[in-house]
């Protein structure tokens, strides 16, 4: 099943690489405009990041990044089609041109950024790896996990961090590797493994999916840096800039106090020159990016600023209730920071 999918992807890779010439700057934007939508690779079901609601619509912080790109390009945030991908499938899908943007809680690492033909366009969520255990085991710290059986998702940085952490602390473990996060969660519930390890945000998201969430706790240790962000194919700087600045526009909007509610008003009478530049009142900053003048207005109006997106999907207004923490803006105690529009 998975093999067929992967093989198909490989064959497509070979075929695409075979027939298309060099990837050129601008090729992706032209192709996206021609087909009329952005093809976006997302997770196959992770509350808060990307999941389908009762009506079958995709929701989540990763999904909103895709909507923002569509809003910037087309002025219409709904012009997105989603490809749900497992961790194993994601890079091949992007390499082969099956998707235009990969926005799938993917950790930015040097080998992925440089050796796999991708470039990361920024960080949507600063995360770190943690552990989820059953309370019955009576474990209070990750240091007490010597000899544990651990469920992980295949093909993630988590797999490598886990091994590093146990080796550094001179502990042993048995890994059980599944393709999807749902399978690992099911296994944790069945008691096949003692611990589930993943990015902390994912652990909270998976916990609320369990039958009895209260019986499980997330251990306090964070054992790695996991900056999660969208990635695009290497070699098309124009598209790279569009994705990058769609994200930055949301961050800048929050910093400048522009929200989906007041953006129209602000666009009429900008309160500061910064806001004027962001919303396309002053200067031709959209044109530089090969985007319409009101690109940022559309993003903010239809998707919201970063703060709104965060609170709606993973923060106080969601079931996950994750605090801003590292993901607060730089001037509010966090490390989220976007270069200025100028």
């Amino acid at each position: 099943m998975k093999m067929v999918k992967t093989t198909l992807a490989i064959v497509t890779t070979a075929a695409v690489l075979g027939v298309s010439g060099f990837a050129q700057a601008g090729a992706t934007l032209d192709a996206v405009k021609k087909k009329g939508f952005v093809q976006c690779g997302v997770s196959d079901g992770l509350p808060g990041f990307s999941f389908t609601d009762a009506k079958g619509a995709y929701k989540g912080i990763d999904v909103d990044v895709c909507h923002a790109v569509a809003a910037a390009v087309f002025g219409d945030a709904s012009k997105v089609k989603f490809s749900p991908l497992t961790a194993k499938e994601r890079f091949t899908a992007l390499q082969s041109g099956e998707i235009d943007v990969l926005s799938r809680n993917t950790t930015w690492t040097s080998s992925r950024d440089a050796g796999m033909g991708l470039v990361f366009a920024g960080v949507t969520y600063y995360d770190g790896q943690g552990f989820l255990v059953n309370k019955k085991l009576g474990v209070n710290s990750a240091k007490e996990l010597d000899g544990a059986t651990v469920c992980i998702q295949a093909g993630t940085t988590t797999e490598l961090n886990l091994s590093d952490y146990f080796r550094t602390n001179g502990m042993k473990y048995t890994p059980i590797t599944y393709d999807t996060s749902d399978e690992s969660a099911k296994s944790l519930e069945a008691g096949r493994c003692d611990v589930l390890t993943s990015d902390q945000s994912q652990l909270y998201a998976q916990r609320i999916k369990l039958a009895q969430p209260d019986e499980y706790v997330v251990l306090p240790e964070v054992i790695s840096k996991e900056p999660l962000g969208p990635a695009v194919r290497r070699g098309d700087e124009e598209w790279f800039s569009i994705v990058k600045w769609s994200l930055f526009a949301m961050l800048n909007a929050e910093e400048l106090g522009v929200t989906s509610k007041n953006v129209d008003e602000m666009a009429k009478t900008p309160k500061s020159p910064d806001i004027g530049r962001l919303l396309g009142i002053d200067g031709e900053y959209g044109k530089d990016l090969k985007l319409p003048k009101d690109w940022a207005v559309q993003i903010i109006k239809q998707v919201g600023n970063y703060g709104e997106v965060f609170e709606r999907n993973v923060g106080a207004e969601s079931n996950l209730k994750i605090k801003r923490g590292l993901n607060a803006l730089w001037n509010q105690g966090g490390i989220q920071y976007a270069p200025p529009v100028r």
Binding site: M1, M3, G115, G147, T177, G191
Partner: protein, 394 residues
Amino acid sequence: MQNTGNASPASGSFFTDPRKRAWLFQIVAVVIVVAIGWFLFNNTQTNLQHRGITSGFGFLQNSAGFGISQHLIDYTESDTYSRVFLVGLLNTLLVSALGIVLATIIGFTLGVARLSPNWLIRRLAGVYIETIRNIPPLLQIFFWYFAVLSPLPGPRQSLELGEVFFVNNRGLYMPAPVAAPGMWPFWIALLVAVVGSVLLRRWARARQHLTGLPFPVLWCSLGLLILLPGLTVVISGVPFDWDMPVLQGFNFRGGWVVIPELISIVMALSLYTAAFIGETVRSGIQSVSHGQTEAASSLGLRPGLTLRLVIIPQALRVIIPPLTSQYLNLVKNSSLAAAIGYPEMVSLFAGTVLNQTGQAIETMMITMSVYLAISISISVLMNVYNKRIALIER
């Protein structure tokens, strides 16, 4: 002028000679195939380079850095990707080998049972075959994994058998033999017994050929195989120490463990394939005309002997070719184990390694060649066996 020396009818023009023409076409075909292959390779290479995707097989020497739940050879996280490949290959081979042996045994039993004169046995075998072979193997794997093995109790509430075997949802734990010092007499005795059995069998065959007198080879060999090594155990002590599984912390430590992923995949695949083998065996047996059975009975052979000496050898000719395809199917289906997290080739190498290195083309190429190699080896072996048992017409 008479043309006596040259036998070829048309040797004049290059294009009118069918043999030369055939050569020309073949050369052209080869050139085209090579050119296309070269173009694809070259274009892929250039594009990979342009997009900054690392290519080549150098990654095999890099350290893998992740753990594997089941490895038949020593493996630690600091080992290389090529070691991971070996681990995955051995795990695939283990599933295939166990599956083939079990499926063959169950399948032959089913096939014979399907033709049993006993109504109940015949019907039961029929119902089994019709049910099992019509359910997709992936569902059967899930059934064994999630419905049969997952509900077992956790390690601290393990079911135990004489404080030696333990069953829980982490697997089946059993004592592992560890070679004790001074066990060489045991191995020598075992070797002598094996060689002795082979020689005995040869001698008995030759004697039966000459005189017609049968010799109980099976019983004598068994006796030899048990008695000789047994004697050394009595004289020089037990050749093994037992490494017992002990509950410690979260899990049992020590001993051998058969993980539930392995049990699920082997059970599912062997029961599934056995249903097909059963039908193959039944059709093989039915292809031998009933006259053979009657002839054998009239010679005074008992039903068991008739089946073993007359029917099965003739049926095998019909059974072996489709049996080979069943074996090949089983090997290929073993890749379904990826769905339950058993670390075989596809999940480990074409999955995790592909993802950690991003080198899709190389890892998929290696994986596909491995399956091809395993399948071809099985075909070749089965063809050799088929030749040996083929009816020799005189």
